[in-house]
């Protein structure tokens, strides 16, 4: 290509760029750890947001859900959503600086993020000060929504709701089979995730009249968990409740198998237990283990949008949607819907529209009852599901109306 042709095509590009943007783009900032600790999850989060933006902006066959028609934001003259990604490196200070940059330089009208609780804490503080909505897609620490923030919203259930779901499941299966959970063993890593999770489990187990026969806190990413496995064996609880990341999850299953201990039931606080690396690494040892999830990829009857959205996602990332990525897509669609209903890209109008959000569950890809924020900004209808590994994949077993198989329940036998 000679210089003239190059200049002509560059000019044409510039022109087409201008005419394509009849309505101004609506900029949404997306903050994740793209490098450093947590980068694996953060990098995985790029694809779901891009897919969500494609669903909102692109032209495709209508998908039976919120913002599933495509073609931009109708009430803003077909304006497109434009995503700007920023890297927090999982560091609260950097997350804060990035959120500030997105708001002041990129003119983001809303921020979505951010996986880790620590970065969620500082981003939501920046958005509060700049009066821009922050929508937490996947931060699940209960400490986040109890700080009296006006601009904080969270579509995802938090850990208390997840744990509440576990105990509702225990009650439900106990009533159904007559074999009730009497004793539980808590097993959790020592960072914010495990600590928060075990605190709620302890509280709810006591409230349900269950006896905690083991309460084991371990150092995250331990080289060996054989002492802990021995303790779990001697306690022999009805249900072991682990809050662990991937490598620890594999390690504890192997350590229990080595000493010949087969637990009656395992109910995991997702995390490591939901990772595909865990399913591969633990193999047959994981069979029968249960975990909470906020996503039920098999609930395609009651959530018809799952199939087309997953097809789009798979085309983009060559993976199926999981617990995290489905929540991220849902958060972006919720935000786009609010901006559309607001009919404006002004942050205060978006905030009011978010407050007024009332989306029924079947308009999403989530097994939730729906999306509706309370005064603290928490979605109160984000009810979790329980899943069990059967044949190497997770299958939904609770709520019973969404279940695709009968739970394998060995407690009391």
């Amino acid at each position: 290509m000679n210089r003239r042709a190059l200049m002509l095509s560059a000019g044409a590009l510039a022109l087409s760029g201008r005419t394509a943007h009849a309505a101004d783009d609506v900029v949404i900032g997306v903050v994740y750890p793209l490098t450093g600790n947590g980068a694996a999850v953060g990098l995985d989060a790029k694809a779901p947001y891009e897919v969500a933006a494609d669903i909102i902006n692109g032209t495709h066959a209508p998908i039976p859900m919120l913002m599933g028609a495509g073609g931009g934001l109708p009430k803003l003259g077909g304006a497109k959503i434009k995503l700007v990604f920023a890297d927090s490196q999982g560091d609260p200070q950097k997350a804060r600086a990035e959120a500030e940059r997105l708001i002041t330089q990129d003119k983001a009208v809303a921020i979505v993020g951010s996986y880790t609780s620590a970065t969620g804490a500082t981003i939501s503080q920046v958005t509060e000060r700049y009066e821009v909505p922050y929508l937490a897609a996947d931060n699940s620490s209960p400490s986040l929504h109890t700080r009296g923030l006006k601009w904080f919203f969270r579509t995802s259930p938090h850990d208390e709701m997840f744990t509440q779901g576990m105990f509702e499941f225990f009650a439900g299966i106990g009533a159904k089979t007559g074999r009730r959970v009497q004793t539980v063993a808590l097993f959790y890593e020592d960072s914010i995730f495990g600590t928060d999770s075990s605190n709620v489990q302890r509280k709810l187990a006591e409230a349900a009249g269950m006896k905690i026969v083991a309460d084991i806190r371990y150092r995250a990413a331990s080289p060996s968990l054989s002492t802990e496995a021995q303790k779990l064996k001697s306690a022999n609880a009805d249900v072991i409740m682990p809050s662990s990341y991937t490598s620890d999850a594999i390690l504890i299953l192997k350590a229990m198998a080595e000493i010949g201990y087969k637990p009656k039931a395992i109910m995991a606080q997702a995390a490591g237990f939901q990772e595909s690396a865990f399913l591969q690494g633990a193999g047959a040892l994981a069979e029968g283990a249960m975990s909470r999830s906020s996503f039920a990829g098999d609930a395609i009857k009651s959530r018809p949008a799952i199939v087309p959205v997953n097809a789009l996602y798979k085309a983009h990332n060559n993976k199926d949607m999981n617990d995290n990525t489905s929540r991220q897509i849902t958060a972006m669609l919720t935000m786009a819907d609010a901006i559309n209903r607001a009919g404006s890209a002004k942050p205060d109008a978006i905030r009011l529209a978010l407050i007024a959000t009332d989306v029924p569950g079947d308009q999403t890809i989530m097994p939730w009852k729906g999306i509706k924020f309370d005064a603290t900004g928490q979605n109160t209808l984000g009810t979790p599901v329980m899943q069990q590994i059967s044949g190497g994949v997770y299958k939904t077993i609770w709520p019973f109306e969404l279940a695709v198989m009968e739970p394998g329940w060995n407690v009391g036998q």
Binding site: G42, R129, S191
Partner: protein
């Protein structure tokens, strides 16, 4: 000779004043909050690196556990503020005192070790501190501590979106550490510490109290680092063990001084002025791609400086080296 030293010190003080005035005036042309934030973090790290330099540079005791003092400082001022309502402007000094005391407490057993053994001990002590805070519920444990915004206040160092107040606060902090280092260079203490750094046996034979010198350097260094931690906590509004006590933070504190020039007055500031913007800008404008290009650039820069200028970046401005270095 004595006159030359006095003259040179006077010159440095003038240069210090000019640099301070220049930094203080930066927000006049720079209105963008992101850049202002970058300057604040850079100046804060310049102060922290200077604090590290007092012990690691002048006294030659390489500490890789300064995150502990930083973390202690940030927790002391934050907890005093949240639990007892003591404003961080006062808590800042409490943070310095407690962190300095911690440095003494740790120095007591650790200064019996020398060289690499001391450096390793500081790593271990830092890690112990991290684990203690991680498992200590009273200080928020792994959940960390969130500092709510209660409205604009100078006493509480809380500002809604304004960056200017923090600009001056961290500048005052960095200037204080610089002045401390400047004073040291010309004082009896400073000479004693540098003697300890160069040759312990020779220093002792000249009547220098080795242990007391190391302890004093540690207390001053730890105290300033703690004050920096208190400012960080109030600026960011959230602290948890991972962000203020983790081991990599100790490296981040030492790195600007090492890169800029260990045991020099200007090394920490020059190092911070190169390192922090390099890391922040590359993350902000390249990090979004998620390919780690920013970290490669950052790492490459450090390697480049270490290879080309092992004495530190400060040696690029070698106006004083000619008179300092005796003919070999």
């Amino acid at each position: 000779m004595a006159n030359a030293i006095v003259k040179r010190r006077r010159q440095e003080l003038v240069v210090g004043g000019v640099v301070l005035a220049g930094l203080a005036l930066l927000p006049v042309p720079i209105k963008d909050v992101y850049t202002q934030n970058l300057i604040i973090i850079t100046v804060l790290f310049a102060g922290l690196a200077q604090a590290w330099n007092i012990l690691g540079g002048y006294c030659g005791q390489i500490s890789l556990g300064h995150a502990l003092y930083f973390g202690i400082g940030s927790y002391v001022s934050t907890l005093l503020y949240l639990k007892l309502g003591i404003p961080p402007t006062l808590g800042l000094f409490a943070a310095g005192i407690v962190a300095g005391a911690a440095a003494l407490l740790i120095g007591w057993p650790c200064f019996r070790l020398s060289g690499h053994y001391y450096a390793i001990a500081t790593v271990v002590v830092g890690e112990i501190g991290y684990l203690l805070f991680l498992n200590w519920d009273f200080v928020g444990g792994a959940t960390g501590v969130f500092i709510p915004f209660k409205g604009e206040s100078w006493a509480e160092l809380q500002f809604k979106t304004a960056k200017l107040p923090y600009h001056f606060v961290v500048l005052a902090f960095a200037a204080a550490t610089w002045l401390a280092a400047f004073w040291l260079e010309g004082s009896r203490w400073g000479f004693a510490w540098r003697a300890v750094k160069d040759d312990v046996v020779a220093a002792r034979s000249l009547g220098v109290n080795i242990f007391a010198s190391k302890m004093a350097a540690a207390a001053l260094s730890g105290g300033f680092t703690g004050m920096g931690g208190a400012l960080y906590a109030q600026y960011v509004g959230y602290i948890d063990p991972d962000s203020v006590l983790a081991g990599h933070f100790s490296i981040l504190i030492a790195l600007p001084a090492v890169l800029g020039g260990v045991g020099t007055l200007w090394g920490p500031l020059i190092g911070a002025a190169v390192l922090i913007p390099a890391s922040e800008l590359s993350r902000s404008y390249l990090g979004g791609s998620g390919r780690g290009v920013d970290l490669m650039l950052y790492g490459g820069l450090i390697v480049l400086v270490a290879l080309a200028r092992p004495q530190g970046l400060v040696s690029l401005f070698n106006w004083r080296r000619k008179s300092d270095v005796p003919a070999a």
